[in-house]
Symmetry: C2
Subunit: 554 residues, 2 copies
């Protein structure tokens, strides 16, 4: 170890992107991992189910990894754990609800018994290797979220996790200003802070605002009410349930993840439901329309979700009726705007009254706006600052904000995934890179889909494929059978028989060209066929389907 | 014709969607067409270049079509004309700039000479069959936009086209309140009005607001300025040019469509550029950084656009430099949010200062908000009302707004594409449907890509394809060669040789099963292979690639 003790901050995910959050803290021969999230694929990742961080660096340093601490139970913070823990079985630390949700995932993977889960409470302190970690309560769009104060021999590192400063939280559990203040007073070496909403001035509204909107809406609704929101937003579910109770309505839960979360949250005591308020879907159907509220998934217009299926009239148990009031208590995650507005449109078509985005107070963010970010910096008073959890522009704006608050430029590190930040008591610097990146999960395959496969999928998705099959004699090199052409995703064959005939002729010509030129290796024959045919098709159609020549020898 | 004269309003596009606007007005044996727009494909239309209205109905009534009138020069109002006019050569009426832009398209298609273009001015009146049409100036995000007052024997129909009420337009040409008021006074049978922004309360800001924002930004910018906006927003270009001149900067134009529009607009006198202000890109490169403004396309993050290429460092002539001020003077069209934010991120990464959405006054809409819509209804005082140009929820909200203003429910028609609205002097009703829908344009193919092709592209894009080829003897029915398996877009073959070997074995088994069962028709052999293999692959990978068995006979 160097004469002057140093601690390294190594982001493996979540910088320059929203999702797959994973931060590594390294001191000497000890590694601590903060969160292991997944990211939902962008539309150019065709057929991919999810994206997880590349943990090559952790696997190369397997014996140094002392544990994984979790800040909260959102997918982008715990979703990769089932994959990570398969290759790296280390103790995991998190709060009750976080581990409750994680437990569900591990059970599905039959991994629950093989993993050491350690449950902690806010203000608990655990020693992991040389790291002494205190869990500090914060507000977020899921209960039981915590920030971390990590004592290292070099100094204290505060990681906010995802947070907001809700002065009137639904459960009354205000962010722990006092511990943050005490750490700030003692002296904090580095602050790593949530950048998601840095573009928003002012304060993020309190979750209670949504409760008020629910109250007004429920009061006015004369028929059924359907509330769609994120399953994990337990406080929001609580407010819907409380409001339903107030207006003498029963509650039915729709959608797999919603059912899961409600049962876990009830079981662990995060959701407080009056006896007999929850009813099954079949009971709900029998109730008078002004006596029921449905809680459902699908606030993002996810194609398979309950609300989307209701909207497109193919949900088995719940059918939209004219007069229904549908509350979409969420804003579309970037990329989902189209999906959501399509669902809203279909709901309107069926005569429902849909309350969404446009209406203020129907949703509030779980992340801090500028004034909250400033307050965090002023409370913690860090020497060094590293914006995390955000796309590049957000990290840059968060850094500007820190500079405006007096943190010297040289002490601010706008990093990238894989880029090592090395900090001593006196100074910090970028210190090289480690392997990092994204691993694509497609079905059971983890990382078996690479750029070549994606490039092929992209080409296939644009203009389809033509397969040219011909059987040739090994000895004479003459055509024995074919050429046949089969196409998929290219043109309506029925309407294009002529084109296909011409294409076959082209292939014949190409093959004859080869035999006349005495070209006999299949490879060059194939490329001849490919080139001639693709040129012909482009002239005729302005399309570039994938062309796959297959030569069978007999 | 019925005893009581009737006029029919038949939307062929633009209702329940944003794009491919086309409205048909039919009186007796006479058809008038308003606009012929295209729509850019949504991401589920894989490989499709554009979508145009299905004009089967017009072709079935070819001899009745008297002409096409255009409200303005945006793609979603004129983009389908090159296709429509190929099949339906009727006179076209539009204002100077509208026809100027259309002319460019027709020239590319070598159609310019074969089409009868009739240039009109606001307040001009033209007689087309039994229709007497007055063109009425409105404000919009492109100059020379008009509404239409169509006199029919049944009554006057006012079609707003796309409009906003800009009290301080850049060119000083205020919407023609007076003609609208006079028509309202005379009595209007039906109003068809733009629903795009019905969800927005209040008024849409004046285009001049953007000019003020440009001024502030230009004043503060110490290095190069790059302004990205819609090429067709000539008033916005004018303001950028005027501001550049004010701050003693030259202007260089980047991007094909931007170059086209600027030259057309200058030529026709819609853009007023001080001599010597415009410079070529190579000159621009030589100027001091605080002496140049670039006007560029790409405000929607279009992958091939100039700004996107600059952002990803592969634009040949313009390279982003730290200190550049980049103004994205547009808001993302729904569906483009991700693309735009990716571009913004890349620009930030390169040290540019990007001004976008978040900053108010950097863009204003070209469509009317609620107060403007109310003003239009109050001015025109129609007996019947039909919201147009919007998605379903917008049409419904626009109808609610009209109801609140006293138009009786029975006189309001929220229609769908293809749904006929029949109006007499006294009453109106839905009167059946005509063929309507979308025609997909892919390369040179118009309508040759249907649902089967799209379904195949979708499957190919998700899990790729496996082609199984085997040569069998015609007489013995035994395998002569193969089976071979080729895959694309499925898995990285190098990493999955074993899987492929197992797959081959599966195919062999399937074939043997068939011969033992004495199954000899290729069809059933193929389906046997397909079923067995797909089951095997799903178990192994949880993926469902397309499987294409090809049997060659020798």
């Amino acid at each position: 170890m160097a004469r002057e003790p140093k601690v390294s901050l190594i982001p493996l995910g979540g910088l320059g992107e929203i999702g797959k959050n994973m931060m590594v803290v390294k001191y000497g021969e000890n590694i601590l991992v903060i969160d292991s999230g997944l990211m939902f694929p962008e539309e150019d990742l065709l057929g991919i189910d999810m994206v997880i961080p590349d943990i090559t660096y952790l696997l190369e340093n397997k014996n140094l990894v002392r544990g994984i601490v979790l800040t909260h139970g959102h997918e982008d913070h715990i979703g990769a754990l089932p994959y990570v823990l398969k290759e790296l079985n280390v103790p995991v630390y998190g709060t009750k609800l976080t581990l409750g949700i994680l437990g569900g995932k591990l059970r599905e993977q039959h991994m629950l018994d093989s993993v050491k889960l350690n449950c902690v409470k806010p203000r608990d302190v655990v020693q992991i290797g040389p790291f002494k970690i205190e869990f500090i309560r914060v507000s977020h769009s899921i209960p039981d979220a915590v920030a971390l104060a990590i004592e290292t021999p070099v100094g204290v590192i505060v990681h906010t996790g995802d947070f907001k400063i809700d002065q009137t939280p639904v459960d009354g559990e205000v962010i722990d200003f006092h511990r943050l203040a005490q750490w700030g007073e003692k002296g904090v070496l580095a602050l790593l802070s949530d950048s998601t909403n840095v573009e928003r001035p002012g304060y993020t509204m309190s979750e209670r605002v949504v409760g008020q909107t629910f109250d007004e809406t429920f009061r006015q609704a004369s028929e059924r009410i359907i509330v769609a929101t994120f399953a994990s937003n337990v406080h929001r579910l609580q407010q819907a349930i409380t409001t339903a109770h107030r207006y003498n309505r029963k509650v039915a839960v729709v959608g797999r993840s919603m059912v899961n979360v409600v049962s876990i949250a009830c079981e662990l005591g995060y959701l407080n439901v009056p006896d007999g308020l929850l009813v099954e879907l079949d009971e709900a159907a029998k109730l008078p329309r002004n006596r029921i509220v449905y809680l459902t998934t699908g606030s993002q217009g996810e194609p398979m979700s309950a609300l989307t299926r209701m909207a497109s009239r193919d949900h088995r148990q719940v059918e939209i009726m004219p007069g229904d009031t549908i509350i979409i208590s969420a804003t579309p995650i970037p990329g989902n705007e189209k999906l959501v507005s399509r669902v809203i449109d279909q709901l309107f078509k069926q005569g429902a009254n849909v309350i969404y985005e446009a209406v203020s107070g129907i949703h509030v963010s779980g992340h801090p706006s500028q004034e909250e970010l400033k307050l965090m910096i002023n409370l913690v008073k860090p020497k060094f600052f590293m914006p995390v959890h955000g796309e590049c522009r957000m990290l840059i704006k968060h850094a500007q904000l820190a500079r405006e608050m007096g943190i010297p430029e040289s002490n601010i590190f706008v990093g990238e995934n894989g880029q090592v930040v090395e900090i001593s008591r006196r100074s910090g610097r970028f210190a090289g890179r480690v392997t990092s990146g994204r691993v694509l999960v497609d079905g059971l395959g983890v990382g078996d889909v690479g750029n070549i496969v994606l490039r092929d999928r992209r080409q296939l998705s644009q203009d389809g494929i033509l397969i040219v099959v011909v059987t040739m004699s090994r000895d004479t090199g003459l055509i024995v059978s074919g050429p046949d052409i089969v196409s998929r995703g290219f043109v309506y064959v029925r309407e294009s028989e002529q084109l296909m005939e011409q294409a076959k002729a082209k292939v014949k010509q190409a093959l004859e060209k080869c035999s006349s030129k005495k070209i006999s290796e299949w490879a060059s024959i194939k490329s001849q066929v490919r080139d001639d045919l693709s040129r012909f098709l482009f002239d005729k159609t302005r399309r570039r389907p994938m062309i796959l020549p297959i030569i069978m020898e007999v």
